[in-house]
Symmetry: C2
Subunit: 375 residues, 2 copies
């Protein structure tokens, strides 16, 4: 089946909304944070550990899986769920973002046909097109596929973006034409940088194609400001249908999630919680902390006293600091579990605050505590 979104409550003072999304692998509440399993594995976690964070949809990267092990290997295994032993819903991106950010020497050749670039692994010349992206995602058999779009840099001009949006719309149309999997939803992507007219145009034209959901792209490329991110959301949301899911791509900072939810976003994904975990950093209610810090050497309290995750229930900062400073794998695993759970718990609380029509008060309280930064 295609995913089905139902709006259950609209917060009274903001655009924030509470809803549910029905998928092939269960029904989940939104707003939701989706952990990223780049190469068909959330780095260092078993699927059971991912599930214990109460994760719903999990992400996988089309670009990485296309290169290794190749979509045909995953197809042969019966699709991504069976390949990686994950029986929750999976969303795959289009590969576009990685082509633009990971291509060897960052060189790529954008034509009407698609994007030509060299593999970051072996320098092999590759061509990714809208059709190819959908074909790969079909074989991966994710529950939600994304349209192939151009991801222009934050520095792109209005003029550049105008042309880029037109091309992305043509690519979206081509991708939709070849997308035939009845069990896979296909989402369209709104681009347009921080420009009101471009976001409006991109949103309206994308929605005309009637996708199963919509994402707001171009907010987490390479240095967009927070202000530009909020503009991108604010200028896109009014033109997106209320009965479809809204997805803000690549955003996972706690404060950004709160701002996104307030502006009407339903789902988020980001490598941030797992990436910073492997570098010893953890989210806490009082800001981010770095477990390398010597002050934690004898600290027998959990990473975050207000957290209910496996890590915080069982381990001290002293032990995790030991694991991180000695580069033991378990350190990254334990902090990844915590950081993912932190963001998921945040969305749980945001859902409550939406139902209680007090998300603005929630934001204020959260920020006050978060900025205490006793780290």
């Amino acid at each position: 089946m295609k995913v089905k979104y139902s709006l259950l409550h609209q917060e009274e003072k903001t655009n924030a909304r509470y809803g549910i999304i029905e998928t092939n692998y269960g029904t989940y509440e939104t707003p939701m944070f989706m952990p990223v399993g780049t190469r068909a594995t959330v780095k260092g976690l078993t699927p059971e550990q991912v599930k214990e964070t109460k994760a719903g949809i999990c992400l996988a990267n089309t670009y990485h899986l296309w290169l290794r092990p190749g979509e045909n290997i995953i197809d042969h295994a019966g699709g991504l769920h069976r390949f990686m032993n994950y029986d929750g819903p999976i969303l795959t991106d289009s590969g576009g973002f990685q082509v633009f950010s990971l291509a060897k020497n960052k060189k790529k050749d954008i034509t009407e046909e698609g994007v030509q670039f060299k593999s970051h692994i072996d320098g092999q010349k590759l061509l990714l097109t809208p059709e190819k992206s959908i074909e790969i995602q079909n074989k991966l058999d994710s529950d939600i596929a994304m349209s192939f779009d151009e991801c222009p840099p934050a520095s792109a001009t209005h003029e550049y973006l105008k042309n880029s949006i037109e091309r992305t719309l043509r690519w979206a149309r081509r991708g939709k034409q070849v997308h035939k999997n009845p069990n896979q939803s296909l989402f369209g992507i709104v681009q347009g940088g921080p420009y009101k007219d471009l976001r409006k145009y991109s949103a309206i034209e994308t929605v005309k194609m009637d996708f199963d959901g919509y994402s707001i792209g171009g907010v987490a490329n390479d240095g967009e400001s927070k202000e530009d991110m909020y503009k991108a959301i604010d200028y896109s949301i009014p033109y997106l249908p209320k009965d479809k899911i809204r997805y803000l791509m690549g955003v996972g900072d706690p404060l950004d999630i709160i701002e996104g939810v307030i502006r009407g976003v339903d789902i988020f994904d980001c490598v941030l919680p797992t990436r910073i975990a492997r570098h010893g950093q953890a989210f806490t209610r009082r800001g981010k902390i770095n477990l390398h810090n010597a002050k934690f050497i004898k600290d027998l309290t959990p990473v975050d006293l207000e957290c209910d995750c496996y890590t915080c229930r069982n381990y001290t900062k002293s032990y995790i600091r030991h694991l991180i400073t000695t580069e033991e794998m378990l350190g990254g695993t334990l902090l990844s579990i915590h950081n993912i759970r932190f963001l998921i718990k945040l969305t749980e609380e945001l859902r409550e605050s939406i139902k209680n029509n007090n998300i603005l008060e929630y934001r204020q309280k959260f920020i006050e505590q978060y900025n205490k930064q006793d780290a």
Copy 2:
């Protein structure tokens, strides 16, 4: 309490024996394989994952924990069990082996007092003595501590070993004198290389000191032959009391475990299963396989069809090969779980064969299958 060994069945045709060991953290059957948690973590595994392999005693390395985070930090946390969240029995080694194998530039100065060497981490000058080793292990609060011994290289002459054994006996005596923890057992170590007279002498003199258990050392240093290992066991075992546990240090090859058990050994430890796992290798009933091998790319069978571990119940060779070739942490974790379980299941079967008085037949069948090596 001290560990208590009870011999429950002596195999009829060999020295193999089935028994139980009672510890502060439960009673376990022997022969047993003990996974190694070098720095208070079995690399890449949570304690729950370790337990799921049906592991009993788990090892930790005194040398590594002495250097980082330091025994006082672990003492402050309430001992190793609480520090690492492991509620099974823990055995710590004396640090001797690492001093001899890891010291910077392999240079060390052995005196009557102890061993002076430079830290492999920062080159700091350090002195490890029998008293210091016991003092550290007391603070770590392991269930079983080991005497501090000299670990001479495989190339050591009879004359060198004779003097070395005398010193090791004096060190054992000094260690025993300062060991006061009533909840920690202390094991003595038999040395003597492949020499009958030296092993006999070392065993008899060590047993005179009345330790809580005995280990056979000097078999896994740096290139002892299998024959020398068997000699070391055969020449030591006759002089070890039947009512105390016998521990073969650093041995974890499946065939070596079988040979050790047949010769009367009760417990084994080794980093082998987890180390080779991180390099993509797995034990199977048909020999070791390397998951890097391209022939596994589409292989949808588990690592070992006869295995009941978490990994083999849930993952294919194809997926694990993908994780290993892309250097994803989960690959090492899954193979570590499998390899540990493989050795533990082997000891379960050895226990059955002892009870059935057919361990020699078991060995023959195991070797025939193991040597098929379809890898």
